[in-house]
């Protein structure tokens, strides 16, 4: 169990590093669209380990990204915590939901919730309308993140983190 936790921690740190270092290579910066690799791992862990563990993982990984981002501290932690809690409901049939296309859908939902919470607070006090936030930021980024989770789907099952 401890080994699994250590692997999750390493996974999150590596993904945070990739997110901060290389993700701009696959981002559409002019459209503010970039995938969120860390939330894919958070979704996986929440489905695999449940709400409590998912919440804590979401909180800590969000906090890590907050600390690195230079933006609000606590906002990504809040977004990831809520998203992980919601998606943790799917733990009961984790094998099913960690399967190919369910996972894609669940990553989309996790990202959608996370982005919704994040951008709703982030754009408070600006002139950007709710519809714009939803269409230009939340939906598009979530879809792109879900698309990136295809990497997990095509990842050899035996080498997946949770089955190690």
């Amino acid at each position: 169990m401890t080994l699994s936790y250590a692997k999750y921690a390493v996974l999150i740190i590596v993904l945070a590093l990739v997110q901060k270092t290389f993700v701009w290579l696959i981002s559409f910066s002019s459209l503010n669209i970039s995938p969120d690799l860390v939330i894919i791992a958070v979704a996986y862990i929440a489905i695999k380990e449940g709400k409590i563990f998912g919440c804590v993982t979401g909180f800590l990984s969000g906090l890590l990204l907050d600390l690195l981002s230079g933006s609000f501290i606590g906002l990504l932690a809040l977004s990831y915590t809520i998203a992980a809690f919601v998606i943790g409901h799917f733990q009961n049939e984790s094998d099913k939901y960690l399967g190919k296309y369910y996972f894609l859908l669940l990553v989309f939902i996790t990202s959608l919730i996370g982005n919704f919470v994040f951008y709703s607070v982030y754009f408070q006090g600006t002139v950007i309308t709710f519809t714009d936030i939803m269409l230009k930021f939340v939906l598009v980024s979530s879809a792109y993140t879900a698309l990136m989770s295809l990497v997990y789907i095509f990842f050899p099952k035996k080498r997946a983190i949770g089955t190690a």
Partner: protein, 275 residues
């Protein structure tokens, strides 16, 4: 108590959620806290160290793309620098001309040289202004540094000026310090020669040569050049070489002085000669 414990256990997921949400909110509202700034500094430093190590890994596609962008930027910036340098030089030149115009109080017209010859024995410059701009034959051409020459031909929009390096140019001048008069000519090679200077005349290298009031074409006092070399031509006269005040090699803009010799004086002198 046991029942309370059971309730807590049942709600533990929600309690954890509430706890984490509350911590997140506290963090959001305490963004300026010094401990948070410290934590952020530690996180950024740690990740920055790793990131700087990773940045050493070359990304071929990115490098190619970056290289292309840099090359394009380089060309663009080179063009911009060339344009800016040109504009700066033009600005300096025009600034000098403008300040000369203001200081001298003379009625002058600023014109651009569109063609010039410097390697022949009869050298001229072509100016982008002509009769339409009230430029007429014999008007002096000058810069803030000194005399350039005089207009010899005009059309509606252009004019041609004879410069000091022209064998047909004969200019009545005087040495400013000693008031010695002479005639400045071009020897057809490289030198401007001050003629008719007596052997015992007080002319030494460094003396400023200016236009003389004896001239029918030029107003007096315009710098022409400085004496660069003196020697003896024969038993009667000195050989005096003059270095022009104006650098003809880099000349781009000039002033045409709207000055014509007094007609009354000209007619009187003509009349006297005909007697």
């Amino acid at each position: 108590m046991k029942k309370f414990g059971t309730v807590i256990l049942d709600l533990k997921e929600y309690l954890v959620l509430i706890l984490l949400v509350v911590i997140s909110l506290i963090l959001i509202f305490a963004n300026d806290n010094s401990q948070i700034r410290f934590m952020r500094a530690v996180a950024v430093t740690s990740f920055g160290t790793i990131q700087s190590g990773l940045s050493a890994i070359p990304n071929v596609f990115q490098l190619e793309k970056e290289n292309k962008v840099l090359r394009e930027n380089n060309i663009q910036l080179s063009n911009e620098i060339a344009t800016l340098k040109e504009a700066k030089l033009e600005n300096i030149r025009l600034g000098k001309l403008l300040s000369f115009k203001e200081k001298s109080g003379l009625d002058v017209l600023s014109v651009k040289i569109i063609n010039k010859s410097l390697t022949q024995s009869r050298n001229t410059i072509t100016l982008n202004a002509g009769e339409k701009d009230s430029i007429f034959i014999n008007m002096p051409v000058i810069t803030d540094e000194g005399l350039v020459g005089r207009i010899v031909t005009t059309s509606q929009n252009y004019s041609v000026a004879q410069i000091l390096y022209n064998k047909d140019m004969r200019l009545t001048v005087k040495v400013q310090r000693s008031r010695v008069d002479g005639i400045l000519t071009f020897d057809g090679t490289n030198n401007l020669i001050l003629q008719n200077i007596q052997k015992n005349a007080d002319v030494i290298p460094g003396d400023l040569v200016i236009t003389s009031e004896y001239s029918n074409l030029f107003p007096p006092g315009i710098p022409v050049g400085t004496v660069s070399e003196t020697g003896f031509l024969d038993n009667l006269f000195k050989k005096v070489i003059v270095n022009p005040s104006v650098n003809f090699q880099i000349l781009e803009e000039v002033f045409v002085l709207k000055y014509t010799a007094g007609k009354e004086r000209e007619e009187l002198e003509k009349k006297f000669k005909n007697k």
